[in-house]
């Protein structure tokens, strides 16, 4: 296991390095001059040249790359090109908790919806309830998340005034402010995910419920609920865990869009604004962080997989 972890971690780091390198060079191939845009109002060619020289943007790209890379190795992600040139690490560290809050709440909501829905529809296969869950799942997958977000704002914020329409409050301001700001976006992000999980649980539960050991358990005269929850459900979770990697992708992608709807400055927004403004260091830093999260989350999922399913070993 240790060997496996070590190998995967090294692989993950190599992937991140490759991603960072690719992004670095692709970004510089993009048309658009951030400094000229920033100094548009100023309109002074000398000022543009001076600033470029100061930021090192006048050097050959490979020199910039080496410099940047050496700094990254020291944990320095550089500074934003714009404005007061805030440290990228600071921008990312302020955005990260927001995105993580959103993603984890969305995850919890999705699980809270999906697990009972999937279980019920598997146990009561082809019942009206099952059909409802199926319809919900397909609708959840078919709705553009930003559209759902806007609808939620219109209903719960603009009309009912139950919840704030936009913004984010850190957990340090208390649970309710945090929760009330995040619940709507979390629903928007979590719904498609809930749909996928509910479908997965349903199909894997059906498979497990038809298997011999459940028949044996039933034959032993165990209570049905006990059979389902203690014997069947944990086994049905195994295929669900395999989609966790997708879950992370889905939550991240959802967060990018939904953060915009709810004016939450999370990693997604940092990334998009960085790209739109050609704020190279910010994009590089944000991508590095996003890929780190994604790569290691996938690794964690694989490890979790062995914990849940004792049949799987990575050592051989």
């Amino acid at each position: 296991m240790t060997g496996y972890l070590l190998r995967r971690s090294v692989g993950a780091i190599l992937v991140m390095w490759a991603v960072a390198t690719l992004v670095f060079f692709m970004l510089r191939a993009v048309p658009g001059d951030p400094i000229a845009a920033m100094l548009f109002d100023v309109g002074d060619a000398d000022a543009i040249a001076a600033l470029k020289a100061k930021l090192g943007l006048d050097q050959p790209v490979y020199v910039q790359y080496v410099k940047w890379f050496l700094l990254v190795l020291q944990g320095d992600l550089g500074n934003s090109i714009y404005g007061s040139r805030i440290e990228v690490s600071r921008i990312v560290m302020e955005a990260l908790p927001r995105t993580l809050s959103l993603a984890s709440l969305a995850f919890v909501i999705a699980i809270v919806i999906a697990v009972p829905a999937g279980l019920i529809s598997a146990i009561r296969k082809h019942s009206a309830l099952d059909n409802m869950v199926t319809v919900f799942a397909f609708l959840g997958l078919a709705m553009p998340d930003f559209w759902l977000g806007i609808m939620l704002i219109i209903i719960f914020a603009a009309n009912l005034h139950w919840l704030p329409a936009i913004g984010y409050a850190p957990l340090s301001q208390g649970f309710w402010p945090w929760f009330s700001h995040l619940i709507l976006p979390a629903i928007a992000v979590g719904t498609p995910f809930a749909a996928i999980i509910a479908r997965m649980i349903r199909s894997s539960m059906l498979e497990v419920l038809n298997s011999d050991y459940i028949n044996v358990a039933n034959a032993k005269g165990l209570k049905k609920l006990r059979v389902i929850l203690v014997h069947a459900f944990p086994n049905a979770l195994i295929p669900v865990v395999t989609v966790m990697g997708i879950a992370i992708a889905l939550l991240m992608a959802g967060a990018v869009v939904v953060e915009n709807v709810f004016a939450i400055k999370g990693l997604g927004r940092v990334l998009i604004e960085g790209i739109l403004n050609r704020d190279y260091p910010v994009v590089q830093g944000a991508i590095l962080v996003v890929s780190t999260i994604f790569v290691f989350a996938n690794l964690a999922v694989d490890v979790l997989y062995t914990v849940i399913d004792p049949r799987i070993r990575y050592d051989s």
Partner: protein
């Protein structure tokens, strides 16, 4: 083991030799490692095998599964590259061919595969499968001509022309194997490698297919390398038989000689396992039961590879690798105890197993 080739001058000299396998070895690396992959061992699937096939002959290659016979077939078909050794076809080394020669070789040597379910592309109609050789080798040929050829080939193999429109899954196993044969015949191949060609078929169908193969051999003057584990089929079909064990040929002789007067203890054990149709003699004849597992080819035993299971094992067997020597005219065997054995031989009757007093037997 280079010495081996020197003691096989006969096949080399024979003018009717179509294919010669010289000291063929195929080793597959086994990889391992925590951080970086590296080779930790080798599977010695074939480890120094030599034999030759004469024009118009049927050479049988028998042995238990995993002994390397299919790997040899794959090497002959140029599907894998040997680790060392040579395969000469018509005197030319298969891995010294230029592109044109290689292309020509593909026409001259064909194969019929074991599993009729797997050997036909399920997404191709029979007509396309049988016509494919023409499309590959004669790109100028028109579709109508190809269709004609396909009909002819199907007919030769005893299939109605309408089968050309079928998909493999719409046919029976025997029909599919006939399709496989038709495909092999398409380009007038000189030699056909039959890799367990009938093993997967029902017995009655087997008979039909074998008969077809024999008819075709006569009609088209074909040479077969027939690989199988069913000794009765091999005996029926082959002119000569080579017995393989763990990547080595342990015995090779004319079919009759081999089945009647086997020399190698492994062959003897193998033959004793073949059921005899007569229940009385079946019950009374001695059975040589091999004990122990076939050793892993990753770590083959030293000395004679058969020694851990050999009823005749001596100290020397664990140290010396026996050579495949011509013990009797045309009869090769690789066992250091043979000379002693041969002296004791009497000529037993057909289908009987030689009595070998000093071989411990059990029922």
């Amino acid at each position: 083991m280079t010495a081996l080739t020197e003691i096989m001058p006969r096949s080399d000299a024979a003018s009717d030799c179509l294919m010669e396998v010289r000291d063929l070895a195929l080793h597959f690396p086994v990889q391992g490692g925590t951080l970086f992959k590296h080779t930790v061992g080798q599977v010695k699937a074939v480890d120094g095998v030599s034999f030759s096939i004469r024009k118009g002959e049927v050479l049988g290659l028998v042995g238990e599964s995993g002994c390397g016979k299919t790997t040899i077939a794959r090497a002959i078909l140029k599907l894998v590259r040997p680790t060392s050794g040579q395969i000469l076809f018509d005197g030319m080394d298969l891995w010294q061919q230029d592109r044109a020669q290689q292309f020509a070789y593909r026409r001259r040597v064909q194969a019929v595969f074991q599993d009729p379910f797997s050997s036909l592309n399920p997404r191709m109609k029979v007509g396309s499968t049988v016509g494919e050789p023409f499309r590959i080798h004669m790109p100028s040929m028109k579709s109508a001509e190809i269709n004609g050829e396909v009909r002819r080939l199907l007919d030769i193999c005893g299939l109605p022309a309408r089968m050309a429109e079928r998909y493999p899954h719409e046919m029976s196993g025997g029909q599919r194997q006939r399709v496989g044969i038709a495909r092999a015949l398409a380009l007038n191949a000189e030699m056909i490698v039959c890799d367990e060609a009938v093993s997967a078929l029902d017995v009655s169908i087997q008979a039909q297919v074998i008969n077809l193969l024999m008819d075709l051999k006569d009609e088209f003057n074909l040479t077969y390398l027939f690989i199988g584990h069913d000794l009765s089929v091999v005996k029926h079909l082959c002119d000569r038989v080579a017995v393989m064990y763990l990547g080595n040929v342990v015995e090779m002789a004319d079919s009759e000689t081999l089945f009647d007067e086997p020399l190698h203890p492994y062959t003897i054990a193998l033959l004793s396992a073949v059921p005899v149709p007569d229940p009385v003699s079946e019950a009374s004849r001695p059975h040589v039961i091999l004990t122990g597992e076939i050793p892993s080819p990753v770590n083959p035993p030293n000395g004679c590879v058969f020694h851990p299971r050999c009823p005749r094992m001596s100290d020397a067997c664990t140290r010396m690798r026996p050579l495949l020597l011509e013990e009797l005219p045309g009869h090769h065997a690789a066992c250091i105890h043979i000379e002693r054995l041969a002296a004791q031989f009497t000529r037993p009757g057909q289908h009987s197993i030689p009595k070998i007093p000093d071989i411990p037997t059990s029922n």
